[in-house]
Symmetry: C2
Subunit: 277 residues, 2 copies
């Protein structure tokens, strides 16, 4: 039996594209939210899953980061960067001139605002729960179009009215591969961890970050998430270069842990090869 790999569905979503890229031979299992993918790994229902963590335009995907922080037993085993191309999709035979309604997830509508204002200034915008759901509705609705993936168009029998309709051509999303354990060292790895510090004193965050910089470990990402207790209290999530088994990284992590109130290591994994391009 091929391994089960969870993703944010339905089929035709960017999540499915990422899962196909990571595990072309896997049994792909759609979930209704990134949080549900993370929970299914935490409970052992599936072996691996992909969840989006950040987009080059929109920034962090809060739901994923929060679910990873809140779910015990979930580790990061890999990462993958997917270029995002939004298409304008409608029932076959529909012309751009007839479109008076555009459906999509609010984030996708926002990412294509300039295109929509320029090419469809009179069209009404309507929110959908996902780009894939929007495509499904649009191909069944007269004079409607949806913002979605090329694959969703193909799965739902939609025609592509325009390609690459997002405002900024360079648009990519980073996914992490989640599992019950992380990955062995490869020589070009990253490590992710989260912590909280005493927030009422100056310099507590810097004390922690210095444990990395003093050892010449590059910080590739720092993200602050609300503690869900009160405004102004944050959980910091850090990605840095190196593997947790590397001597300097292991030392730095030990020193961070000593200074932190809360500390959790999400593991180490190979850096995505095309990440820097």
């Amino acid at each position: 039996m091929s391994r089960q790999v969870g993703y944010l569905g339905p089929p035709g979503s960017f999540g499915e594209q990422a899962a196909l890229g990571y595990a072309p031979a896997g049994a792909l299992v759609p979930f209704t939210s990134h949080g549900a993918v993370v929970a299914a790994i935490g409970s052992g229902l599936i072996e691996e899953g992909l969840a989006a963590v950040e987009n080059s335009l929109a920034g962090t995907v809060p739901e994923t980061v929060d679910a990873i922080i809140q779910t015990e037993g979930v580790f990061i085993r890999g990462e993958l960067i997917l270029p995002i191309e939004h298409c304008l999709i409608a029932a076959p035979g529909t012309s751009l001139a007839e479109v008076d309604l555009v459906l999509s997830h609010p984030s996708a509508l926002a990412q294509c605002r300039t295109y929509l204002e320029t090419h469809l200034p009179g069209a009404r915008l309507e929110a959908a729960l996902s780009t894939a759901a929007a495509v499904e509705t649009a191909v069944q609705t007269r004079a409607a179009a949806a913002i979605g993936t090329r694959r969703a168009a193909s799965l739902r029998g939609g025609a592509i009215l325009a390609e690459a309709v997002q405002d900024v051509a360079q648009n990519s999303t980073r996914f992490v591969v989640l599992a019950a354990s992380d990955a062995p060292p490869t020589g070009d790895d990253k490590t992710s961890f989260a912590f909280t510090v005493d927030h009422d004193r100056p310099g507590t965050l810097i004390g922690v970050l210095s444990e990395l910089s003093n050892r010449q470990i590059n910080l590739t990402r720092i993200e602050s998430r609300p503690s869900r207790e009160e405004l102004g209290v944050y959980v910091f999530m850090i990605d840095c270069q190196g593997h947790r088994e590397d001597t300097v990284v292991a030392e730095a992590l030990g020193a961070v842990q000593k200074q932190a109130h809360y500390f959790r290591l999400f593991g180490s994994y190979p850096r995505y090869a095309d990440a820097a391009t």
Copy 2:
């Protein structure tokens, strides 16, 4: 003529609640997005505006932070913290048992997931562009309810089926007051600024943050936003204690500016009195 104060509408939104709290006698002007509020101040169309920057559960409001960073001539003159209470609203006479459709902005639906799963497990969820728009639709639709504000219910003639339906009772949103200039010192102030640093070398971020901690200036918030160029390159937005005219703060800002590639000061403003409670 009373001063014009912009907010994210329509009337009945949390944005209007915040604007009413800040300027009860102001001429409140609704806009269709936080970005539009910021742009209207940048262009001088309105004198002041409120925009949500972070929520205690959801975290940052990326649209606002990005708009502030990208719009010239916009300063932060104040802040305000609004407790968020979601209500379940329907046409008068509707009972909870009949509700088979729940409408709201996807963020509001997500914030009330536990309530919805417990009390309305069979109801279909449908996305709307705002909570206020959801309430307007729900009161006109049989067997439908919306998640929205108490004020939206009153404005649209809706009945409140349940109060405080959000999953976590402690839910508040911080708004900033934006204008063409910031505020004079009061003795209990905060200062906000943004910067980028060389991201390929270890310790560049820490070098900047140390300029604050070395002077015992407390960092109240650090937020990383994508540069919109490539993944892994961020603009950092910082809130710290003190006013830009305070000697140590002025020195720290000067030192930060020297180390940064990009630097922008959004100004100083009185700390919200109830912020710590």
